[in-house]
Amino acid sequence: METWPIYRVMGPDANDEDRVPDPVKVKIYEDMVLLRTFDEKTITLQRQGRVGTFPPSIGQEASEIASAHALSKEDWLAPSYRDHGALYVHGVPFENVILFAMGKASSISGQVRALPTSIPIATHLPHAVGLAWAARRQGEAVVAMAYFGDGGTSEGDFHEALNFAGVLKAPVIFFCQNNGWAISVPVRWQTASPTLAQKALAYGVHGQRVDGNDALAVYQAVKAARERALAGEGPTLIEALTYRLGPHTTADDPSRYRPLEEWEVWRQRDPLVRLGRYLAERGLLSEAEQAAIQERARAWINRAVEAAEATPPVDPTAMFRYLYAEPPPRLLAQMQALQEEIG
């Protein structure tokens, strides 16, 4: 009988050593602070009507940030809607994330090797398999990593993707953030499996549970999965155990479905506080330095918001520009009609 221990690097229950280079640890901390600050700010902006519905990742910063730091910029990301943190690490600036929340930009930008965030659940997992396969065919030493949540493991595409990846031995990582809740539905109503990682077993795929609030464990687990994939040893399903401390999006109220006691327990496991304490104890980042990082993050995010809000309104006809390399005549006629309508 296979057991599914939880991989940990930080704290008294650690079952592996910390091999993360010190500068990487500090950078992960800085980016986690940035993401927390960004999410708190954006929730405020949403309440003020300055951005649209927004899915914050408060409580999941270790999983979001450390996982992406374990990748190369050449690797492909197939994110879902709560993964602006991972996208930021991979190369999408927060200004762009704000513009996306304002409905004015794509969820990706520049030359970043990522798909637009998938809004339907888990239907992007097969894309990661295809991206990984394409990379291998073209002789690139890169992997593809798909981000999704506990609810995603109930979708058919989760199973089709793992099955495909297993058969092809594709260099792909399925990174599942089990944050306890799919909007209002708890994991125990999502599946009768005791763990999500064990679903890998049925597909001949390596499965692993990781403490998703342990940034260093997340980093090392993804690194190891990446190395395994590049060595031709096939895909990995990582179940990162974490918790969504905030709402699913700014449009819902978790107190309607989620017991406060559970939230209190997880609030004590705040991944940001945990990494901060770990770094302070090892003399890598003092409390004063951490306070300075938080201050810089606030100023930086405020500037990003100002920059985003200073962008001009969208060009109404710009939406016609991208669907085809050459828009067909009827679409061009529709664009001209809109142009005339707005004068």
Binding site: W76, A78, A105, S106, S107, I108, S109, G110, Q111, L115, P116, S118, P120, T123, H124, L125, P126, H127, A128, V129, G130, L131, A132, W133, A134, A135, R137, Q138, A144, G156, D157, E160, A161, N163, F164, V167, M319, R321, Y322, L323, Y324, A325, P328, P329, R330, L331
Partner: protein
């Protein structure tokens, strides 16, 4: 030049594309060792190997989803859906992703993939093997939809499909696979996506058809010429999305009468789109209401009924004569 049927023409195009472009990858159910249930991919696995001609797990969403990833990642995948009736588990991939990624990434990414889909009835197939579901695809922004009705167009449209920066659904009329041969050149050539083809010139009525309805339309046009002395123009649309607005309008402005024929159910079918296009481009030239001859608003029936379900010459001739009489 060799005279070949549509299966051979598509097989030839696939072989040439695999040989000339290392980015081309074929994937689907039973397309490798078995050469496809219709033998369209016969011999390709042996020639190009398992990494280029991939027998996949039996999962339509997985096939189309993986093809999307491959396309974004720099390959030129050609996926096969075994029968159009099995497309629906994968339809979400086309609607939610393939058709949108270019738009959602504001042009940064594109999905140059081809989905080959045998479709249509008339071959006494088991249930759910004879659907004509083109309307779902045509209604999906970002997706191009083509339907050849001749071996020449099949090969040329396949070349054109693979050269697109967009996903293309390539519908193969099962009934025409082996129904006739024609000269098809070896080597590359493109039949452009967009323009329709006037399959038979005529001055009295425009008959719009695609796929397996084109030979029926031509046969009925000949009969009308013989029996009624009227000349029906048969327009093979070939591309259903983006539809040839100009070509439809041009033909009806010339003839003043129109009929559209398709196998799929009437309600919400592509025929309705053709009628609306006529309304927009040729209304003041019309001498009679535009008629639709289609499958019934039913699921495709068990094959003992298919001769009654599918538009045949009796139903089409009646509509042509009524439209000519008005």
């Amino acid at each position: 030049m060799a005279e070949i049927n549509m299966v051979t023409a598509i097989n030839q195009a696939l072989a040439e594309l695999l040989a000339s472009d290392p980015r081309v990858v074929l994937l689907g159910e039973d397309i490798g060792v078995n050469g496809g249930v219709f033998r369209v991919t016969e011999g390709l696995y042996e020639r190009f190997g398992r990494d280029r001609v991939m027998d996949t797990p039996l999962a339509e969403s997985g096939i189309l989803g993986a093809a999307i990833g491959m396309a974004v990642g720099g390959l030129r995948p050609i996926a096969e859906i075994q029968f159009m009736g099995f497309l629906y588990p994968g339809l979400d991939q086309l609607i939610s992703h393939a058709g949108r990624i270019r738009h959602r990434s504001l042009g940064a990414l594109s999905v140059p993939m081809v989905v080959r889909i045998p479709y249509g009835g008339g071959i006494r197939a088991p249930e759910q093997h004879a659907d004509s579901a083109e309307a779902y695809l045509v209604h999906t922004p970002g997706l191009k939809v083509v339907v050849p009705s001749t071996p020449y167009d099949a090969k040329g449209l396949l070349y054109a499909a693979l050269a697109q920066d967009s996903p293309v659904a390539f519908l193969e009329p099962i009934r025409l696979y082996r129904l006739g041969r024609m000269e098809v050149p070896e080597g590359p050539y493109q039949v452009p996506i967009g323009p329709s083809r006037v399959a038979r010139e005529g001055r009295d009525l425009s008959l719009f058809a695609w796929g397996a309805m084109v030979p029926l339309a031509l046969a009925c046009a000949e009969e009308i010429a013989r029996e009624d002395g009227a000349e029906v123009e048969v327009v093979d649309l070939r591309t259903l999305a983006p539809v040839d607005v100009e070509g439809i309008g041009r033909s009806v402005r010339k003839t003043g009468r129109a009929v559209v024929v398709h196998e799929a159910p009437m309600t919400g079918g592509v025929g309705a789109e053709v009628v609306a296009t006529i309304n927009e481009t040729a209304f003041w030239w019309l001498k009679a209401p535009v008629a639709r001859v289609t499958g019934f608003d039913l699921p495709y029936p068990p094959y003992a009924w298919e001769e009654f379900y599918l538009p045949g010459s009796k139903r089409l001739l009646k509509a042509l004569r009524e439209t000519l009489r008005e």
